[in-house]
Symmetry: C2
Subunit: 462 residues, 2 copies
C-alpha cells in the first residue's frame, strides 16, 4: 500500500458524508420512544428515501415497527423500493393496509415488479389487488418474464418516433405527449413494424435545427437486448460499451421496453456483492438477517469445510508413526498447508474475477496457467529457503529444513495450478466459480501440503 | 443455491455473447502472422474499442506489438482509453509517434487525463506535447486535482443556463451553441456568480412548452460535489441516490464540471474489484501482469501469512509433550483451526462489505456483534456434537471427542467476534478493512484454535 492510499483511506474515514448521521438516528429513535409523530416527521423530512430505508435496516425489529406505526401515512412507496429484501416482508406486514396501498399506487410499475418478486404469494396478491387495472396488467406482464431477465429489468414506458421524422416533428410530438417517462435519455427510432433501428441522444436533438432528419443524428453506440437476455449480461454490456440506455425487443424484434444505466448499475453492484460473498462461502446474506437465518446460511459451507478438513486429517493419520517419532513435524505442518491455502486463494480470486469480467478466455488460459505455475514456483523457492532456514535453526535438524522447503515449493506450485484450473473447470461445467472454487482449492492445498511434508519427512527423516 | 440459480449460471455459460469470439481472435492472430493488413483491418472493423482493448490484453506481448504495428494508423484514441493500465505503457511505446499523436488528439480531455495519470513522467510529457494548447491546459488543470478526486473524474464541458430563463430561451441557446458535449443529461441552472442552484432533465425540457420557466422543471435529485471529494464517495452517492449526472463545484461553490453516471459506474466497478482482490490478499493485479509482477505483488501477503503461521506453530510447540503423548491430537488439530478460519472469513467478509456500503454503523454495531457471537455459538454447538462424535468413534477416546467439541465451540465464537471486531477496529484507525482484516482474523482463529484444543487436551487428557 502506497502512502497515497493511506491518506485516501483516512480522508474517507473522517469525511463519511453519506452514512446516516449518528445524532439523527438517536434523535429519531428518541422521537419514536416518546411517540412524538410531529418530531419524527420533522426529522425524517430531509432524508432521502434510500437513507430512510438504510435507517430501517439498521435499527432493531421492534423499533422498526414502532417507527413505521408512528410515521403512518408519511411512509411512501420509494422507501419500499429502496428496502433490502431481508426486511421487506417485515416492513410490509407492519404497514396499515391503507398506507401500503397508497405507497404502492404511487410507485413506478418497474419498482412494483422489483418489490413483488421477492415476496410470498399472499403478500404479492394483496399488493396486486390494490393496483389500478392498467398498472396491475403491466406488473403481471413483467412478472411473466423469467427472473433476472432483461424483461424484468426494463421500463415499459418508451419514447419512440418513426425513422423519417425531423427534429421539429419529434420535439412537437414530445411536447404534446403528456405521459412521458420521468427519466429518458434517447429517442428511439422504429420502423413501421415497431422494430428499433437506432436512437438519438436528447442532447443531440436539442442542439440540432428543427429541419434536421433524425436519421442524421444517430448514435453509434446503439444496441438492443432480447427480452429474455440474462440481466448480468445486460449489465456487463452497459459497463463494457458505456451505454446510457438501450431498447429491449421481443422475439419478433419489436420494441417492448428500455433499460437505463441506473438499473444496470444496480445489477452490476448486486453481481459484485454476490461474487464477494460467494467467494467467502456466504450466501445472499445481509446485515439485517436474523441470527437463525445466518446460522442456516453459513452452515452448508462450514459443513463442506468440515468434510475437507477431515480429508486432510485422514492424510495426516497415515503418518501417525512418523509424527510420533518426530513431534516437530506436528508443530511445522500447519505452515505448509496454510501457505498453500493462501497462495491458492490469491490465484483463485484473480481467476474468478477474470472469468466474471470475461478477461480469462481460451485464448489466454494456457498462458495464465503457465504464469501461475512459474509464480508459484518462484515464491515457493523464496519461502522454501526462508522456512528451511527457520526450521533448521528452530529444531536443529538440517534435514527437517530441507523437507519443509521442498514441501513448500511443491504446495505453492500446486496452489497456483489449482487456483486457475478449478475455476476454469467449474465455469466449463456450468457451476458458478465464485461459489464453489474455495472448497475445492483448499482441499487440494491441504491434502497436498500435509502429504508432501509428512511424506517427505517419512522418507527422508525416519 | 436454489435451482433457479443453477439454471441462471448455466444459461450465462452457454450464451457468452460478449466475450470476444474465439474464432475472431484466431483469425486476427493469423492475419497478424501473415502480415495481412487489409485482412486485419477488415476483421477489427466491427469490433468496439473496448473489445479491441480486451483483445490486446489477452494476446501475448510479441503478438500485441506485431498487431499494433500492422494495424498502424487505424489505431484510435478510444482503444487507448479502454486499455488496462498494466499494458498501457507497453502499447504506447509500440505506437509510432504519428499514430500516438493522432490517437491522443481525438480523445476527450477527461480520457486523456485518465490515460496520463498512470504513465511515467517521460511518456506523460510526450503526450502532453502533441496536444493542442487549449487541450493541454485543460488536461494540466485536471491533473492538478488530487488523484481519485471528483476533479479528476469530472468532464469540464458543462451546459448551463441562468436561472431566470424559459424553456424556449434554453433550447435556442443550445441550438446555437456549437460545442455541446457529446453526452449530457441535464441543463444546469446557475446564479450570476456561476453557482449551480438546480438542474433540469433534458426529457422534461423537451416535453415542456417554450414559455415554461426553467425553475418550474427542477429535479429534486439535485446535489453537487466538491472538486476534491473522494471519487469513491461520489460513486456511492450516485448509486445510493440514483443520480444520472451531478455538477462539481470549486471552493467558492462555482460550477467547474459535471460527473455523469457512466464515470461513477466505472469507479464503483473498480472499488468492488479492489475490495475483492484485497480480501484475497492480492494487490491491484490484472491478468495481463507479467509473472515477476505478480510474484512481487503476492509476496508481501504470503510473507505476512508466514508470520502468522509461525505464530500458530509457536503455540503448538508449547504442547510438544502433549502431542508426543497423544498423536491423535496432531491428526485432529487442523480441523479446529480450519473451521475457525472459515467461520471468521464468512463473518469478516460480510462485515467488510457492510462497512463499504455503509450499512454497518455505530447504531447497529453492537447488535451485529451479538448476532455473530450467538451464530458462532450455535454453529459451534452443532459442529461440536458432530466432530465430538467423529473424534470419539475414530480414536475410541470419549474425552478426545469432548475436547474437540469444546475447542470447536470456543473457536467458532471467537471467529464470529474477531470477524466483526477486526474490520470495525481497522476502519476506526483509518486502515482499509478489506486490505488487512484477513491476516489478523486468521491469526486469531489459528492461535485460539490450536491453543484451545491442545490446552484442553493437556488439561483433560494427560
Amino acid at each position: 500500500m502506497s502512502d497515497q492510499d493511506v491518506v485516501t483511506e483516512e480522508r474517507e474515514d473522517e469525511d463519511d458524508a453519506y452514512a446516516l448521521d449518528q445524532k439523527t438516528v438517536a434523535a429519531i429513535l428518541e422521537a419514536v420512544e416518546n411517540g412524538d409523530a410531529a418530531e419524527l416527521t420533522r426529522l425524517m423530512e430531509p432524508l432521502h428515501a434510500a437513507d430512510i430505508a438504510d435507517l430501517l435496516e439498521q435499527i432493531d425489529s421492534s423499533d422498526r415497527r414502532a417507527l413505521i406505526t408512528l410515521y403512518g401515512k408519511e411512509f411512501d412507496g420509494e422507501i419500499l423500493s429502496e428496502l433490502d429484501e431481508s426486511i421487506r416482508e417485515d416492513v410490509i406486514s407492519a404497514l396499515s393496509p391503507q398506507v401500503l396501498s397508497d405507497a404502492v399506487r404511487e410507485m413506478e410499475s418497474d419498482d412494483v415488479v422489483d418489490l413483488l418478486e421477492d415476496l410470498e404469494k399472499p403478500q404479492q396478491d394483496a399488493i396486486l389487488e390494490v393496483l389500478e387495472a392498467a398498472d396491475r396488467l403491466a406488473v403481471e406482464r413483467a412478472l411473466s418474464f423469467p427472473e433476472y431477465s432483461a424483461g424484468r429489468l426494463m421500463q415499459r414506458e418508451v419514447v419512440m418516433a418513426p425513422e423519417h421524422w425531423t427534429v421539429g416533428e419529434a420535439i412537437d410530438y414530445m411536447r404534446n405527449k403528456d405521459d412521458l417517462p420521468d427519466q429518458f435519455y434517447h429517442l428511439i427510432l422504429v420502423d413501421p413494424r415497431l422494430r428499433p433501428t437506432g436512437y438519438v441522444a436528447l442532447g443531440k436533438l436539442m442542439a440540432a435545427r428543427r429541419d434536421t432528419k433524425l436519421t442524421d443524428l444517430l448514435e453509434t453506440s446503439f444496441r438492443t437486448f432480447d427480452v429474455d437476455e440474462e440481466e448480468g449480461d445486460v449489465a456487463y454490456a452497459f459497463n463494457q460499451y458505456h451505454l446510457i440506455s438501450a431498447p429491449v425487443v421481443d422475439d419478433d424484434g419489436r420494441l417492448v421496453g428500455v433499460i437505463t444505466i441506473d438499473d444496470a448499475m444496480i445489477v452490476l453492484d448486486e453481481e459484485h456483492e454476490e461474487d464477494i460473498l460467494r467467494l467467502a462461502g456466504v450466501g445472499d446474506e445481509s446485515l439485517s438477517d436474523s441470527t437463525l437465518t445466518i446460522v442456516r446460511q453459513r452452515f452448508p459451507w462450514l459443513a463442506i469445510n468440515l468434510g475437507t478438513a477431515i480429508l486432510a486429517s485422514a492424510v495426516i493419520a497415515q503418518f501417525e508413526s512418523t509424527l510420533a517419532a518426530v513431534v516437530a513435524l506436528a508443530v511445522l505442518m500447519p505452515i505448509v498447508a496454510s501457505m498453500g491455502g493462501n497462495a491458492a486463494t490469491q490465484t483463485m480470486t484473480v481467476a474468478v474475477r477474470a472469468l466474471a469480467t470475461r478477461d480469462l478466455t481460451r485464448s489466454n488460459a494456457l498462458r495464465v496457467i503457465r504464469r501461475e505455475l512459474v509464480a508459484g514456483f518462484l515464491n515457493g523457492c523464496v519461502f522454501a529457503v526462508l522456512m528451511g532456514a527457520i526450521g533448521m535453526v528452530w529444531f536443529g535438524t538440517p534435514m527437517l529444513g530441507i523437507v519443509l522447503g521442498a514441501a513448500m515449493i511443491i504446495n505453492l506450485v500446486v496452489a497456483g495450478l489449482a487456483g486457475v484450473l478449478v475455476p476454469l473447470t467449474l465455469e466449463k461445467v456450468g457451476v458458478d466459480p465464485a461459489l464453489a472454487s474455495g472448497a475445492f482449492v483448499t482441499t487440494v492445498t491441504d491434502v497436498v501440503g500435509f502429504f508432501a511434508f509428512l511424506g517427505l519427512a517419512a522418507f527422508l527423516l525416519i
